[in-house]
Structures are given as C-alpha cells and as structure tokens.
Amino acid sequence: MTKIELTVDGAAVSDDVEPRMLLVQYLREKLGKTGTVIGCDTSNCGACTVHLDGTSVKSCNVLAVQANGRTVTTIEGLADTAEGDLHPVQEAFRECHGLQCGFCTPGMIMQAVDLLAENPTPTEEEVRLGMEGNLCRCTGYHNIVKSVLQASGQTEGAQA
C-alpha cells in the first residue's frame, strides 16, 4: 500500500492504495464518484476524462499514486451543485441535445471545458480536433460540436 493525499473536487482526501489502482477506480470505488465512467480498456474512448492540476487526462490511464499531491476535478465537481447550478458547458449540452444515452457525456464535458480554457473561441474544425480523444456511439457528434460552440458564446460557430 502507498499513502496518497490529494484534492478531489475541492475536498482534501487521503488514503492507502495499492500502487496498481487506476485513478478512475480510485474515484469510483474509494470515493464513490461514479460520475466518471469507464468506457473502454484501451484508453481510446475518453469517457473517463477528468482534470489533473487543471488539464484533461484519461483517468483510466493514470495511476492513483501518480495523482499524489495533486488536484483532481471530476464532472461532479465542475459546477456548484449545492446551488443547483450547471456549469455553462453542461447547460449548453442540455440545450443543444449534446447527448443521447449520456455515457460519453461526462468525458465530453470535461474535455470541452479543457478545450475552451485553451481556446475560448474555437472554430468548428478546432472543436472536432480538440475532442478527437472522446468517442460517442449515439449522437454522430453533430450536437456535441454545437454544444461546445454554444458554450463558447458562438451560437453559429466561427467560420473555419
């Protein structure tokens, strides 16, 4: 066992974990944060995307011990849920029908937030490229792209 101390969604946590434990397992199984989901075995799908020290990572491809001393934000900590608010990107996904079954949505939203932090007014093509590590089996991506453009304040999207 290895002792880890980190901040998850604003709260300080510490635990003894097996070194082989993946960050996504730690979040789901130890902390009960099942908002972050596992969609594949190959680190391809992006469903497990969270922020580690402010940038997006696939939490199935990070060891919990590698997050020691760092700050993790999951979909559950994105908005001030105590106030019942949604994050603007969550709001945009709801308004633009950016989801169908919703399985990919936590990862999509976390990646979209990262993308918009780096590039606040992306073109449609930049959104598609920036989200290339997130797969969706339902929507055909169209409304996901629309949601991200809407969240950026460009309802129609900038011209590529």
């Binding site: 097996e18 434990m21 075995d41 940038t55 696939k58 491809n61 590698q66 590590g133």
Partner: protein
C-alpha cells in the same frame, strides 16, 4: 482490466532512480507519462515487480537554450513540446509532430522521452527527431553518454538505452527559420499513422531533411529524396522527382492497415505534400 501487483518507487533524483534500476534489474520498469506503459500493464502484456516513476524528478522536465541546440528534458510532455517558444523557433518540425500525437488528454500526460524510449515504429516523434539529427543523452551507472539519432533506434520497440539506463534529455540542433510539416496518414483520428512523413526545409528549397514514420522497424531518413531536393523549386513539378525516391531502400511491413507496396506509395505521395507544405507552398 487492471495491472498485476507491483511495488511503486518514486525517486526524486536521477541518481536515486538509477540506484533503484540497478537494484531491481529486469524486474523493474520505468514509468514516465504511462500512456504506453499503462495500457500494456492493464492488458497484462507485461507484469514488472517494481515500477519506478520518473514523475517526481523535476530536473527531467523543461526545455532550455544551449547555444547551437535546444535541450528537451525527457519528462517534458507532448503538450509542452508543441507550444514551447524555443521549439517553434528552432525546431518547428517537433512542434508540428507533437501536435499530431494521440489526443489532447494523452498529450497532457505522455512525454517526449517516454515516446522516444518506447520506440514504437508508428510513433510520431522518432522520424522528426531523426530528421533533425537529435542527440540522446543517456544516464547510467557509469555516467552519462550521448548517442546520435542514427544509432539510437535499434529495432521495433528497441533503442540504445540499456536496462540499467535512463534517457534524461534530447539535444536538438537548432534549425532556426526552417519551414516544417508533419504529414500523417491515419484511419482513426487520434491513432498512430499508417505512414507519416516529417519534412523540414531551409529556403525554398536550399536544403531539406525528411524522416519517415512506420516504413520499417525504426524511423528512417529519405536520403535520396533529401539529396534530390537540394536546389529544387518548391512547386509540384519541382519536388515530384525527389518525392518519387522517398521509398527507396525501404521494406515496410504489411498489416491490416496496408500492404507494403501501398505504404511505399503513401511515402511518395505524403513526401511530396509534406515538403511543399514545409516550404510554405
């Protein structure tokens, strides 16, 4: 799936990491960004008893100016390489190639040194490093040695790094003002290329350097193309004859993504595109 049990060590200096490698030998595996190693461990294709994490060694991270070269620490992420001013100014080809590696999430974790040490023939950074005549600085129990790019890549997933050694940094000779382009041909957006071509040119065209990805068990230089490009004009006609030489002497693999002769065809076509884009036309 999750990895098999292992012990975890988090050294804070290269010396400590080397000592741990020396002690555990074949049973140990280094983890850098983990973006190639963790999938391997999760699929149980490898099960080291000890994993040594380089993440806590701050001296391995960052990019510095060293006169006629820039020096990239092994633990610098793909994301940082892509955006760093020293890279865009003096080794633009690396910035272009780093931007094409995997996806944003993986570029935030995966490291320059990890990708080169992994030596996947389909990896996107080997051919640019080879084309730019990079030098690899390797630390071991007996001290530090420097290996030329041409000697670094030995075979599929095999480099000049010994079992008891660590890649600490990569020196990239400055190619200030050279145009560059990385032309990657993929079937799936965020995946490894079927074939890719790394091209960087001085003037239009005084001198050109061209590297090939996934055209053999290691990255390759398209030497015949490079010679033919010296003094060529940066037009479709001007580069065609040179690009047609790109597959000379190569023996690329056949797999589900493409047969060997198809890869050779791709190398010729992509070389033409890469060189023209690198020359800004």
């Amino acid at each position: 799936m999750i990895p098999a049990h292992f012990d975890y060590l988090a050294p804070t200096s290269v010396e400590e990491a080397l000592a741990a490698l020396g002690e555990h030998g074949d049973d140990a595996k280094i983890i850098a960004g983990g973006q190639s190693l963790l999938p391997v461990l999760r699929m149980r294709l490898n099960a080291p008893e000890v994993v040594i994490d380089l993440g806590g060694i701050s001296s391995l991270r960052g990019i510095r100016d060293d006169g006629d070269a820039i020096v990239i620490g092994a633990m610098t992420t793909h994301h940082a390489v892509r955006d760093h001013d020293l890279v865009t100014e003096h080794a633009l080809l690396l910035s272009k190639a780093a931007a094409e590696v995997a996806d944003a999430q993986i570029r935030h974790r995966g490291t320059f040194g990890g990708a080169l040490a992994h030596a996947d023939p389909a990896g996107d950074l080997g051919a640019p490093a080879l084309a730019l005549d990079a030098q690899f600085v390797i630390a071991g129990p007996g001290g530090t040695r420097t290996v030329e790019a041409a000697d670094f890549f030995v075979d599929l997933f095999e480099t000049a790094i010994g079992d008891d050694e660590i890649l600490t940094e990569v020196r990239v000779p400055k190619h200030t003002g050279w145009g560059a382009h990385y032309e990657k041909f993929v079937r799936v957006a965020h995946q490894w290329p079927i074939v890719a071509v790394a091209a960087t040119v001085r003037g239009s065209i005084d001198e050109a350097k061209v590297g090939l990805t996934n055209m053999g068990s290691t990255p390759l230089r398209a030497s015949a193309t490079e010679q033919a490009l010296a003094g060529a004009s940066a037009t479709e006609e001007g580069v065609r004859a040179a690009a047609d030489l790109a597959a000379e002497g190569t023996n690329p693999p056949s797999d589900l993504n493409g047969a060997s002769d198809y890869r050779q065809h791709l190398a010729r076509v992509l070389t033409g595109r890469a060189v023209l884009k690198a020359a800004g036309s």
